[in-house]
Symmetry: C2
Subunit: 466 residues, 2 copies
């Protein structure tokens, strides 16, 4: 089957007069009184459909062409001509229209040409990629993913696939999903009457990972620069627009590095991927700016040209306390910042992305490096105007003595961390890293507010369809 | 902290005479009688360590340098000089050696400089990235992963992250892991006394995916060319060197395409990624050829320059029946081929990769397109000399009528497939795709036989450590 992607035509790969065949689906059909039909055909290779002009003297004009509706699949062959219409550079003078599949009962086709609500589309997640918005989200998502891989590859990072199934809740980052092959209707029991996990697939209790960080550290402490890019899971009963039970995370980890290095890496990475989207997906971004969020493009352009401001948590607290604004949640040294605070700092106070650093140790994880003040840890959050926290990271505690003290203070089980502690026993190095929620990034870039609409098949409480 | 990757030095990024600082770990230390120490330092950026020559007049020579052992972390600053030694182009005349971390009790350091068995290394999966072999595997794995993403990006494919948690065993590809947040010590029950999955996190039974294919088809039927690259799971009690409970799969899916298109895509993809490894990881491949499998490089070179032979299953059966060789498993039309058969065909009969096509429908999945003979389906396997099956794929049944017939014949539940059937109701198109087990690819490329050694933290029955 001849394969000409529509994007190739729009990118001037073929001269005027060339005969081409495009394969795709009908977006719209319009019939002129003069007995000509205009088909808008999309194939997913770019945002715009191409127009095919179909004369009524085609053999199957009455039988096929006049029955085409949104969603029908066709191969259209014809001569490439300059388009007299506005906005389109090329169109096809069709000499052959082959229909692969009609739409059964077009009146009830769930993706009919009329506008549908984003909630309605979510209920039809298997068909929504056929819409303009989800097509555009998918291409932007792909561009971001590829840019992330490229960024790290060019810098000599190795991609590490850290395990999805894990025997420990080492990070303590949240509620976890159990993984098991035990027969729940007939659970094996120990003599004490408890569930006998020795008989489970892995011979013990296992869960789905909440983060690959601790595992990634083992590779950073051998190969210097690594990153994960894989799915992570939270069994939280959250119904917000910002939470998913299953989402993808990017977690770089760098050795011989401190918090400032991690902050610089985060800034460089964000700018790199935003540049990639602005360059490579201008068509989709124009759509988002027009239909979803008029700031979609300018926001990214501003991020790319901004200096990210570094600010200490302690300074941020003072600013928030003295700014005269009334927040829903009060601010005092020691509290975790809420989205309203983060957004005030980034949007109002500095009007640029902020990297907030050195948080109170009591609101942060055990593995973060204790600062010399004994009160704060070398943690950072990247706060972006318009969304708040987009990246969280830290320098890791590289001293075995200090790490053990934190494990004990936080009442964690020392045995669970024996392998993690080995990294500090054997040639320990200063190292640091961060985590980026990939769907939050896609949401930020596209302006699509609900995170369920930027992943193909979202998983959330009560919802694991398709 | 100054960051010069060792690979940059070997790639001539710095002139002789330049002062550089490298950060890394000690592979070996050797002291000359003249009072000079030679440190071999690795940082994971390439296979070879760099040699630092440390004079005894350094302030911390006796206190630090003479105590360095394998695995200690250091930053070494000095002048870059031409190496008089064989095989090395550059070395560093150290003027400063800073030790970040010694190795506690070097005599019991699990990764001491002596040779360890691959099984021993597997038991120390958190430290084994420090070895030559696992470092090389990691870099080759990264190169392969990046080449796969590049191959598809250049061809206009969109990466789709299909769901990991799924509500259905649609492909019926094997035993699945259950995902649940129910309290196993106190399971909620229905009135009939069964486990009440309505109270589980997703409101129904959920499992970990065995394949993203069916989900990927929904995107191919809208965006034409897509692929997945993500983890998949099999709860099979397999203890072979070729099976993992958790592994990564690459599954492209192409619309307006038939089996021949999928076969060509598979051939092009393999050649592209093998070329990438031969070009970009020559150092690691030289190690594999020297220490692991002397055919490691020549095998790939041969694959890249071979025409993959297309052969029908029916012809293969005739060849196997008439070749005069006695196989462990007898061959007759209708049976699934064993590894011994596949390898005979690829290694002995044609001496090149084979794409075997058109298998009996009864040994293949319900979604594969029925051929006109009514007996075979448009399925394919790519058989590579030295390993056997490396890719499996098919053209998908695009006719709703034919698909429904297969679902009924195979006694599957029609309701489970309503969304999959919608793809055939609404603008159906011929489409095809294949699956590549990523770890099998890494194993094939490196010659490392046991698949547990080409993934960072392998999961298999009884084993989910770290």
């Amino acid at each position: 089957m001849s394969k000409t992607a529509i994007v190739e035509i729009f990118n001037d790969k073929f001269p005027i007069g060339e005969t081409v065949t495009v394969n795709g689906w009908i977006r719209t059909r319009r019939d002129s009184k003069a007995g000509i039909s205009f088909l808008a055909i999309y194939d997913g290779s770019c945002f715009d459909p191409i127009q095919a002009v179909v004369p009524s003297d085609l053999e199957n004009y009455a039988s096929d062409v006049l029955n085409l509706t949104a969603g029908c699949s066709v191969s259209v062959t014809g001569e490439l001509v300059e388009s007299p219409g506005k906005g389109q550079s090329f169109e096809i003078q069709a000499t052959n229209v082959q229909v692969h599949g009609f739409v059964q009962d077009p009146d009830t086709y769930p993706m009919s040409a009329k506008r549908h609500s984003i909630e309605y589309l979510r209920e039809h997640a298997h068909l929504r990629p056929r819409t303009n918005i989800i097509g555009a989200v998918t291409r932007v998502r792909n561009c971001l993913s590829h840019a992330i891989h490229n960024f790290f590859y060019e810098k000599g990072f190795n991609w590490i696939s850290t395990p999805i199934i894990t025997g420990s809740d080492c990070e303590g980052a949240g509620e976890m999903f159990r993984v098991s092959t035990l027969d729940l209707e007939n659970l094996p029991k120990t003599e004490a009457g408890k569930v006998d996990y020795k008989q489970d697939f892995f011979g013990k209790e296992t869960f789905m990972t909440v983060s690959g960080q601790l595992n990634a550290e083992t590779y950073a402490c051998a190969l210097s620069n690594v990153y994960t890019f894989g799915p992570t899971f939270r069994a939280e009963n959250s119904h917000t627009t910002r939470h998913l039970a299953e989402f993808w995370m990017v977690e770089p980890e760098i050795a011989f590095a401190d918090l400032a290095d991690a902050a610089q890496l985060a800034e460089d990475m964000l700018k790199y991927v935003f540049n990639a989207v602005l360059t490579e997906r201008a068509d989709d971004m124009a759509f988002f700016a027009q239909r979803v969020d008029k700031e979609a493009i300018t926001r990214l352009e501003k991020m790319v040209s901004s200096e990210f401001v570094r600010m200490d948590y302690t300074e941020a607290i003072e600013i928030l306390q003295n700014c005269g604004k009334k927040f829903e949640y009060d601010v005092e040294w020691g509290v975790d910042l809420q989205s309203e605070h983060e957004r005030y700092l980034a949007e109002v106070h500095v009007g640029a992305p902020i990297i907030l650093q050195n948080y109170p140790k009591d609101i942060k994880a055990f593995y973060m490096k204790l600062n010399e003040d004994g009160k704060t840890v070398a943690a950072m959050d990247v706060l972006a105007p318009g969304i708040g926290e987009i990246i969280g990271g830290s320098q890791r505690e590289e001293s075995l003595e200090a790490l053990d003290k934190r494990i004990a203070e936080m009442d964690l089980n020392m045995d669970d961390y024996s392998w993690y502690r080995d990294l500090r026993k054997y040639g320990t190095v200063p190292h640091a890293g961060f985590g980026l929620g990939f769907e939050r990034l896609v949401s930020y870039v596209t302006g699509v507010q609900n995170i369920r609409d930027v992943i193909a098949f979202p998983r959330s409480p009560g919802s694991a369809d398709f």
